[in-house]
Symmetry: C2
Subunit: 358 residues, 2 copies
């Protein structure tokens, strides 16, 4: 499998990306990397990681980079030769089987949607991410690609999460929950109430509305919501975890007894950090594309980059897009383009700036 | 100040409510309680807390209780003699200065809106709650009363939070942030983008969009959002805090060293629990009413009930509704009822089941 890696994307690119690539090449023998970025700028980091072009590492030049502050459409307009656009083109032309980027989320969404195109039957691709729960994990879809959604979008997100959970978490019949403000069927906003009706009639394992406690204490394997809400859950979880860590530290440093206790138990705190670390889980797949794209957190570590490469590789091997498309038609929730239309693959311009930064 | 307390509302009512009332009578000498509930059923608990009718404790009979699973409109239709409806009537008739309930949130919202009526210029009342942040707190509005909102609602929520922060947190010029999916002005969904424009033109200390990290690490004193999002932030925060506590415990119990360390540092964990305990902060005021209503968490402890009584008392003394109404007109964001209309005080039936359970 050939993975196109955006070497320039991410807060600590290209250094961290190349470290991740070096690890992936060592650990996953079937991975072939197409490293996309400004070749001159990469030279130093390649040497540092003892990486050389060879049968499993191909270098592809890209003149530009979409910076974090730029609009998402930069990947399609001002910066047509950016690393993420070149990655998407490699996938579109069949030279790569999947794309990995830890750069500008919106730019990656825009570039892949236009270049790789949207999967048959899908209205809008969505980002999913794996979240830690007590005694397990759950898949959150949409984690931030679409800030305004329709009930049909949410029905399709449910299937994206279902196929994800089946393929990567090996859960045969994943329990699918809908984020709402109360467990009862009648609770929710206009969007979730309509989505609830559709989900109830689909041949899936729909467990109804879920709230905070249900999510983090094992109430569902897949949690479905619009991208605004998903991003809110993700960011709130990350921040509150970090705030609790901060409070814990300051409580432990208050006197000598506590400091001694903290020293004795220090491995427990390291372990806690790993459990509640959201980036251990291998990036967020952008699902619903005619291909595979994994988007990493902007602050990705080498381990996160390496995990994203592994997930991309697994998705490609298992034929994720084909399975998702089949499932969408099977459940009768395929997107019907408006009758006027030749716009089956709607361009990303529909919501140019909405994709949230991860 | 006379506080009407719904003795029957809450998961552990009436026992916990009466414990809280007993504490409040001891601690706040200027509080006068109107205890509303089924007098026969209360007799046992009154005796247990050594509470007797007297100059500072008046008993008011209410035949019914709105149970948690019932629709919000039960307080207005099937159960017109419920404890929360009677509380709202006492406030409406001027016999009470404020209402406190830890019962069914939606029922309390419906009863108070219809009986006490909505404040001049306000479109929809909203719930606010104080959330812990690293090195401080922030006020979250709307925490769950309105699941579908307009940009004007969000502008009014900002002023509710502003007056709250001024009066109870003593912050002269509170920094007001808008929950979104990115810090840049252009990020958000349709609702937040429109609200951003209005907020930018108001004479307030608007600091722009805020995300998870900004919220919990001191980026704003007031955080504004629709009630669906607010409820999501609240529930996610509570659940992830509880999940982290669970993970911490299991990490600490893994071997003898860690157990010994945990024992030495045990006071730190107790302290951590208090910091991240969301119910310490005195209930959620329902703001925008022609009066004062504080809604407690269903699982309120006696301390939470006592704190809610203190906050209700403070709000009443400081003339919260008058100040809020004045500020709304001053900022030019008053609600204009549709021209057809005599519906200045719109009945709660507009969104009967939307208020989220706290």
């Amino acid at each position: 499998m050939r993975v196109a890696v955006d070497a320039m994307g991410g807060d600590y690119a290209p250094a961290v990306v190349l470290e991740g690539v070096a690890e992936a090449l060592k650990l996953f023998p079937d991975v072939h990397i197409l490293l996309v970025g400004h070749q001159e700028k990469l030279a130093y980091y390649l040497q540092k990681e003892h990486l050389k072009e060879g049968p499993r590492l191909e270098l592809v030049h890209a003149e530009q980079v979409v910076e974090m502050g730029e609009p998402s459409t930069a990947s399609l307009r001002a910066k047509k030769h950016s690393s993420i656009t070149v990655c998407a083109e490699l996938a579109a032309r069949g030279r790569a089987d999947c794309v990995v980027s830890a750069g500008h989320t919106g730019a990656a969404v825009a570039a892949t949607k236009v270049k790789m195109r949207i999967l048959k039957g899908v209205d809008r691709p969505a980002l999913s991410t794996i979240m830690p729960a007590v005694d397990g994990h759950f898949v959150l879809v949409d984690a931030g690609a679409n800030t305004d959604c329709t009930p049909l979008n949410l029905a399709q997100f449910a299937l994206m999460g279902e196929v994800y959970a089946q393929m990567l978490l090996h859960i045969e019949n994943p329990r699918i929950g809908l984020i709402s403000v109360g467990g009862e069927d009648s609770k929710g906003n206009h969007l979730t109430k309509e989505a609830f009706k559709i989900l109830s009639n689909m041949p899936i394992n729909f467990v109804g509305n879920v709230e905070g406690h249900d999510m983090f204490f094992g109430g569902a394997d897949v949690v479905v919501c619009d991208g605004f809400s998903g991003n809110l859950v993700l960011k709130t979880s990350e921040s509150i975890t970090s705030a609790v860590g901060h409070w814990l530290k300051s409580c432990l440093m208050k006197n000598t007894f506590r400091k001694a206790g903290a020293l004795l138990a220090q491995n427990a705190f390291t372990e806690l950090k790993a459990i509640s670390n959201f980036e251990e889980y291998g990036g967020a797949p952008l699902m619903g594309l005619n291909g595979i794209c994994i988007i990493g957190h902007g602050a990705s570590t080498p381990k996160a980059v390496r995990n994203a490469i592994r997930v991309a590789n697994d998705f490609a091997k298992m034929g994720f897009p084909e399975k998702l498309s089949a499932r969408i038609f099977e459940c009768g929730v395929q997107y019907a383009p408006p009758p006027s239309g030749t716009e089956e693959n709607k361009p990303a311009e529909n919501h140019p700036d909405t994709p949230a930064e991860q």
